[in-house]
Structures are given as structure tokens and as C-alpha cells.
Amino acid sequence: MILDDQEPLEPEIRDAARSYHEPPPVPRDEVWARIEARRAGRRSQKSGAPDAGVRRVRFLVWAAGIAALLALGVGIGRLSVRPGATGGAGRAPVATTAVPVVSAPAAGTPGRDAAAYRLATAEHLGQAEAFLTLFRASVREGRQERLASATARQLLATNRLLLDSPAATDPRLRFLLQDLELVLAQIAQLAPEGRSEDLKLITDGLEQDGMMVRLRSAVPAGTAGTYRQGAL
């Protein structure tokens, strides 16, 4: 497959594609009537507020967990790129298929920059994996985590920075980051009052895409283990 191939499809295929699920005329009034009826029904049966106390506790638990995760990530990152460190091969999180091994480069060299990007990518993927693992677990237990969207947005921002960085020159890593971007974007766009079934559907999608397996195989074992030990 050629990634940069932006060549349009052949005209016959393009024409045929336009007949795929070709929409009929829009039933404007019919749909509008249904919208009005449903909104009117909701207005008439507006009930009390949900249990705000429980939600607040959950929010704080999530916040504490994510803060610990991020602090761990930053700490590990700083330790790993400490000036003067020779970057022993056993410590550096580089022994994966998606994040190729590099020898310890001298400070200020392009090789050192590349290693820093790889390290940042490994940390990000570790955080994403930990987040998605927690997310899946919370959905499985039937909880609705209100902080999930905010965390997903933070990870999404990092993901975008990495996609624009030299770290994404590795095609496999780029694919993974792009697919991860879609998942994080879905979670980020969840409504605060997102229904548990919507959350579960996202986690089902995660499994279908094999995202967790791909993340685990891309995250250096040592780093991921540290994240999990610290987070859970």
C-alpha cells in the first residue's frame, strides 16, 4: 500500500460509489414533528437532578488517578533523558517493533532528538494504554466517568503533536497514532451525560480494532509495567 497515494478512484468506481446508500428526499416535516414531540415529552417529565455527590467522588478518583499517571510519565521521562546518562540499552524504552532500537546518541545530535521523540512516543502510548484500560474497566463495571472526555482531549493533543513530529516517520507507528487519534476523538466527544451503552460501544470498538493489543505491543514492556504499577 502506498500511503501518499491520493489518486482518485477510477470514474466507474466513483460513479458506482455514489449509488451506495443513495439518500431519498429528506422527510423534513415528518422528522421535525418527531423532534418536537420528543422534546415536548421530555419537558413535561423533567425530573430532579442526578446524584451529584457520587459523581463528584468519581470525578475526584479519576482526577487523582490520571494526575498520578501523568506525574509518573513525566518523572520517568526526566530520569530517562537525564544529562550525562549513557542510556543503557536495558533501560531505554526502545525494544519494540513500533519503536526501533537506537544506540545512545550524544547530546544535541539528531540521533539524540530522535531518541527523545521515541521516548516521548513510548510514554504517550503507555499513558494511552493505561487510560484506555481504565476506561474499559470503568465501562465494564457500569460506571460513567465524567473525566474520561477531558483526559481523552489531553491525550489527543499529545497525539497530534506526535503525529506532526519526526516520531511519526515510522509508518507503523504513524498508523497506530492515527487509529488512536480516532478512538481518543470519539471519547473526547462523548457528552458529559454520556450513556453507559455509548461508552460500552466504544470499548467494543476498541476490541474489534485490536487497539489494545497494538498498543501493548508498541509500548516498551518496562515503561508500561511501571505505568500500570503506579496507576493501579
Partner: protein, 180 residues
């Protein structure tokens, strides 16, 4: 039409403004969710849900993107979640007979191509399928797709490229020269 003014009127409880907003965007929303779902009942359900959520969350609209793009992002989310919930796409019952009667004799193979293409599109991973439908079928730009799906333009381009490559492979029998 000034989106901000319209939104302000809706938030102030102006019922005619709600209908104006609906009329301005329903065509695009319905077409998009129909392309994704392929079923009139589901498309109506998703369109209805999209506008209910739009009115509920109008206060969250920050104006970073066009109002239409924001509404479409809700529509895509509603449609994809709805489809996953249903665990199935519409059973493929393409109206090939109708297409066949309109087609000239020389294009007798076209229904096969359409059927095969439809199956190939159904088989695309969800992300690829949505990007392909939005770009190659409905004519959205990568910038619009990026804002709608909340992804980078480059991601949209990459997903489209992969979708096309998969479709070409699936249709190699029809177009051997297109095999990547």
C-alpha cells in the same frame, strides 16, 4: 445566515429559530447519516437524535468550527453509535433491478460492480468507511472531515488513501490495472 444570531434566538426560546436552524442543516445531516446507515428508518432516527442533542448542547458550541460542521460531528457520532448498537448494517438489498432497467445493455456488468463495491465499502473498517463516504461520496473536504471527526487533516487523508487501496484490492477483478 449568522450562526451566532440564530443560536442566540434558539437559546432565547424562539421556536421559529429552532425550525430555521433545523431547515438549514437537516439536508446535510440526513444525507450523511443515510449514507452511513443505508436505511430510511434509521436515518430518520439518527437525524432526530442529532437535532435533539444539538438543541440540548447548543450552549456548548464555541464557534471553533462552523455550526454545520459541529452538527455533522454529532450526526456521525449518533449514527456510528446507533449502528454499533444494532450490531449490523442494513441487509444489502440494493435495488439492482431498478438500476438494471435503467441501464443500457453495454453496461450489464455494472450491477455486479455496484454490488461488489457496496460489499467492499461495508467491509471497510469504520474509520475508513466514514472518511471515504464523506470525501468521495458526499464531497466533504479533508478539513471539514477533520473538524467533524475531531482528527487531523492528515489522518483523514491517510484513512481515505487506505480505504481506496482496500477498495481497489477488492475490485481488482473489475479493474485489474488498479491493483496497488
Amino acid at each position: 445566515m449568522d450562526d451566532r444570531l440564530l443560536i442566540a434566538r434558539v437559546q432565547a426560546g424562539d421556536a421559529s429559530a429552532e425550525r430555521e436552524l433545523y431547515d438549514a442543516h437537516v439536508e446535510r445531516v440526513y444525507r450523511l447519516v443515510y449514507r452511513i446507515a443505508g436505511d430510511a428508518d434509521q436515518a430518520q432516527d439518527y437525524t432526530q437524535e442529532t437535532f435533539i442533542r444539538t438543541f440540548d448542547r447548543l450552549g456548548e458550541f464555541r464557534g471553533d468550527a462552523a455550526l454545520g460542521t459541529w452538527i455533522c460531528s454529532i450526526a456521525v457520532s449518533v449514527a456510528l453509535n446507533g449502528l454499533r448498537r444494532g450490531k449490523r448494517l442494513r441487509t444489502r438489498e440494493v435495488a439492482l433491478d431498478e438500476a438494471g432497467t435503467a441501464a443500457v445493455a453495454e453496461r450489464a456488468s455494472e450491477p455486479d460492480l455496484r454490488d461488489r463495491l457496496a460489499q467492499a465499502i461495508d467491509d471497510l473498517p469504520e474509520g475508513y468507511r466514514v472518511v471515504f463516504l464523506m470525501h468521495d461520496v458526499e464531497g466533504y473536504t479533508h478539513e471539514e472531515i477533520g473538524r467533524t471527526l475531531g482528527v487531523q487533516t492528515g489522518t483523514s487523508k491517510a484513512q481515505l488513501s487506505r480505504a481506496r487501496a482496500k477498495l481497489r484490492r477488492s475490485l481488482a477483478a473489475f479493474h485489474p490495472r488498479t491493483t496497488p
